[in-house]
């Protein structure tokens, strides 16, 4: 999916895939050329033989950035997509103008237990992803067999990437200091999957980063607080553009 005009903004989705053009994408597309690929192995994408771990996806997206000639791209990733973005940026920030990590997976903070999405029922998952339970209750169940298949496929790929160790790469924290572009870390204060305490850990590991915590918000600020999320991102990108 792609929309809007301006500097390129590459958005890397989380474990639920990227099947819909969401309100925050529409808002961002007023100022940016918003590019939302679906990761290999997710949704309608093929599952390539070479795909074993998040590092593979990091190199894949470095290639994709080269392939599309996206110089000075704003890289935004959420959850698993944030993990991919962080891995990518430790490898090379050459084409990256700014980095926005939204409740990224990828590291482990000792003593702070993450939630286990693989143990949660679909109902528990919806409840635990949102602070506002009215949104959780309004999440539509899959409407067709195709949608169920996509859901299962996304879950399978998420397990492939993040079952063990759970949603992180023990080696990543050693190299986060290599990231040398302006970096915004965004977290919901009521994130039950990856607690907000992970935000300060990420901030401490990336020298060029700042952390913003969105109040009364769960794991998906771009969905639950789309307006606030978008204005924070736009403020940051405009600062980074200078």
């Amino acid at each position: 999916m792609r929309g809007g005009k301006g500097e390129p903004l590459l958005f890397l989705h989380g474990s639920a895939g990227a099947s819909k053009w969401l309100p925050f994408m529409e808002m961002l597309s007023e100022k940016y050329d918003v590019i939302v690929p679906e990761h290999p192995g997710f949704g309608a994408s093929d599952t390539p033989e070479w795909l074993d771990n998040v590092g593979d996806l990091a190199f894949f997206y470095l290639d994709l950035i080269d392939h599309y000639g996206l110089d000075n791209v704003h890289l935004v990733g959420t959850s698993i997509g944030g993990w991919i973005a962080a891995e990518l940026a430790t490898r090379s920030c050459e084409k990256i103008k700014s980095l926005t990590l939204v409740a990224p997976a990828g590291i482990s903070v000792s003593g702070v237990r993450k939630g286990d999405m693989f143990m949660w029922s679909p109902e528990e998952l919806a409840q635990n992803l949102f602070h506002n339970q009215a949104i959780a209750a309004a999440m539509p169940p899959p409407a067709s067999e195709e949608e169920v298949l996509v859901l299962l496929k996304n879950r399978l790929m998420t397990a492939k990437l993040g079952w063990s160790p759970r949603l992180h790469n023990p080696h990543l924290r050693k190299w986060l200091h290599r990231i040398d572009v302006p970096t915004l870390i965004l977290w919901g204060d009521d994130d039950k999957l990856i607690p907000a305490a992970y935000g300060s850990a990420y901030r401490d590991l990336i020298p060029t980063s700042s952390l913003e915590v969105i109040p009364e918000c769960g794991h998906l600020p771009h969905v639950e607080k789309a307006q606030e999320f978008t204005s924070k991102v736009v403020n940051f990108l405009e600062g980074a553009a200078r």
Partner: protein
Amino acid sequence: MKFYMMHLMPYADLDLDYDQKHNSAWVTLPNSYYDPKKGAKLYNRYLDELEYADQLGFDGICVNEHHQNAYGLMPQPGVMAGALARRTKKVKIAILGRALPLLNNPVTVAEEFAMVDNITEGRFIAGFVRGIGAEYHAWSSNPADSHDRFHEAHDLILRAWTETGPFAFEGKHYQFEYVNLWPRPYQSPRPPIWIPSQGSSETIEWASHPDRRYTYLQTFTPVAMLAKYMQMYKAMAAGHGYEATEDQLGWSVPLYVAETDEIARREAQPHIENFLNKFLRMPKEMLLPPGYLSLNSMLGVMKAKSSIGTKQTIDDVMAKGMFICGSPETVRQKLEQYQSEIGFGHLLTLLQFGTLPAELTRKNMEIYANEVMPYLRDKTANAIPAAAE
């Protein structure tokens, strides 16, 4: 037909009210529910029961692997097989099986199985499984790689047993510069291999392939499904141009036999219902982690009205033929009918289940061994010369 006693070695002293606080007897049930003093007694009682099966004339005894649960206390079945190897004289000992995808090093299983095969002078049967879904939570093994790791570990173990070492093994998941098994298996070229499963067509296809012809073991399934899967195996064999023998087909089922139908049902009821509702209890997310089934199989399971989480009764499982229960006459008739219709050659009976106490387990074993096994042995023995000619 051959007769085996299967044991799960449940933690029968479990506080059955655990379910008021916990949604599973697996993985997340705190091990404070386990009392080592009671557990020690249970282990020794269960080993006695399997040794008794040797004296009663069973053809084999079977142990298996499950992790971190009250359902079966055999995380390392080789320990049980080792204990039984020296205390039994005639029976085959089957480990049904080791969960290959959980292994960090499959050579450990090649070694363990070869050792038991040597100590028993060839009384050993090897079982390979993927383990049930909960194992992937307990063992931190990635279910998305389960099929791959199963096949690769299998190939490595087979080569370790049958090739002269040292050789190098270069897999995706396992790499070795030197594989050189000491001891080699006692049986030549290797122990028999059984593949227990709950009816995955991929598994049946793989087990029935002419390169393998492994004994396919259907576990805990309605008898109608048993018939379907056994037929599927035969059809796949025929598709490969050979006829599957009874030796390639087995059935594993809990069974209780007593003096009369009425006594059998009364004595078995609380214990089989505990087995189903207390020991096998786990949420769907634990049973079916992503990747455990193919996407299409998973879709099928999600569409089918699943019985997971619903209370099951003795009448439900008796009606489906998932539990054989009754007088010797009733049990003889049912088994004879199923065997003649479906044509399995190995019958694995779970004669202790759930909370079934020691005295009832012994009575069950004795009546089964004295009044059911000989009858069926005679009936099915008659068929063998005709089939062999």
